[in-house]
Symmetry: C2
Subunit: 339 residues, 2 copies
Amino acid sequence: MNLRIKDVAEAAGVSVTTVSRVLSNNGPVRDTVRQRVLSAIEQLGYRPNAAARRLRSGDTATIGLIVSDVRNPFFTEVSRAVEDAAYQQGLRVILCNTDENPEKEAMYLRLMEEERVTGVIYSPTHDAAQRFKAQHYDFPVVMIDRPGPAGSADAVVLDNRDASARLVEHLVEQGYRRIAGLFGNASTTGRERHEGLMDALRRHGLPAQAEFVDPNPDSAFVHVGVWLAGERETRPDAIVASNGLLLLGAYRAMHAWRARSATSTDDVALAGFDNDAWTDLVSPGVTVIAQPVYEIGKNAMQLLTQRLADPSMSTRTLVLPGELVIRGSTERRVLPVGD
Amino acid sequence: MNLRIKDVAEAAGVSVTTVSRVLSNNGPVRDTVRQRVLSAIEQLGYRPNAAARRLRSGDTATIGLIVSDVRNPFFTEVSRAVEDAAYQQGLRVILCNTDENPEKEAMYLRLMEEERVTGVIYSPTHDAAQRFKAQHYDFPVVMIDRPGPAGSADAVVLDNRDASARLVEHLVEQGYRRIAGLFGNASTTGRERHEGLMDALRRHGLPAQAEFVDPNPDSAFVHVGVWLAGERETRPDAIVASNGLLLLGAYRAMHAWRARSATSTDDVALAGFDNDAWTDLVSPGVTVIAQPVYEIGKNAMQLLTQRLADPSMSTRTLVLPGELVIRGSTERRVLPVGD
DNA sequence: ATGAAAGCGCTAACAT
DNA sequence: ATGTTAGCGCTTTCAT
């Protein structure tokens, strides 16, 4: 089988034009003729060549999805949402992992241009986001998780400052006073969550301790390990991690530390972003800001679709709220005498 | 910008052929000319049209990856491995989620034909696997996790029977005698793991209790809940779940049950497949068969590459061993008097 | 309602 | 080493 539309036309006794019309369901075809064509296609096992259609029609029906790593549960879920929506509309999805690597980002953006994609959903590193020029591209881009410079592209993001603030409010309410934050150093998101935390601490007149690190569990493990190794008086009494990967590393570090040393009064609270499955399974559960992950992906596809329908529309940023999920890891602190 | 190769040719003062040669790095071009072309491309911001190249060259440089759901950590990791390998070879990956739905499987297979993909990596449902006819397709297929009928396609699978047996050996050694297994009803893998478990139990002269269920946490939650609600004398003393999703549901059910009722002597062991992150984070940790997940994806790409290089080669099935990771969930049982 | 023919942008023969 | 040209398989005017 390497059949062309011509073969189908001959088998059905019609012109290629007619076959094309039934394939794309567009243009008038008599019902009896349509049936004849359809059964010829069936009979022969003909499959239209996607590359040829795209070349001729100029419509690739392809969406590019550029994320740092599908293994991050946040992006796993976003991917699924994007794919669900895309395939429902007959769009194909090309999935790209950049590992927060600017070179990979550049190469994938270039790939998107070569593919003449219909649109791109993109989670850029902070640097790439700053440098991003929408007008350089022939396709619309929707940023997720991390917006570009104001007005440069549609975006779906979390209300990061607010979410961080709520985490702080909760911790303060529970009696924690030496709150330390761990933030991803590659994303705009990390910065915003940092600012939200700092502002909230300032409002309470509390000291702040913050560190920007590579956004992976291992670096969180190391940094939290250092914090915990400090003297009891200076050690943080609560640790906040700005995404699921960092939270995981932080949890591991605390777990290891507890196994070695701590008594319950020495305990340190833990909270962070992303309601990943494990946070609800461990005991005590970890308090988190749950992001509406699937919604983020779904909304990104909607913004993209609307932008495609009306390219002149001014750019929009959709800000979604996080949900504070309170679990045992931030239980009320028994304040030591003197605090 | 909608530039064609002709524009580059004119700008560089050469023929389109020459431009094509430098684009695909194939055919002789004088170095000074190559530089001239390259800078013209750079200058103009030209991007070759992927669809046109594919149509003309007949080489799509595209791999299809068909899995049930990327949100399953097993497939998340496999995807990542496939993409790493693919992009290293300049191949694009189209990712498809079938949700174990035969209709979606059929539609994606059809899509793969239309895309004229170079090859497919495919994790079929049991039924689709049985029905699969490699000769119907123009591209090679490598099955992962679940092989088709013997010899129908290359495959990378786990040594499921052996892994199940090792799980049983371990449980028996630890003093468990009423072992119940929960298996996915959609995959060949579920059947093999079931057989491995049954054989091993038979060798020990132990009774067997097994259930085939929809491969998602919720159905596991329900079924395990029913088991646990039974009388202490008949209730399983160990539960085995045949994949990460079922294991998760089983864990939740046991957790809920413990919170309500149990004392430590009533405890039930838990073990299963897939070393997903949470199994090591909960306390006690869950004993699992760790699959070499990344390796599975990587090897699948290698089989595919080799098959592409030599289509006449007879089909191969690569069987990888699982690794038994022992954790607290299967600690030695304190045998009740009379057992 | 149907068909003939041009051409999407590129690569691969085949010249030179 | 470089250029000319045909044509990959389809959709889309434009006729009829």
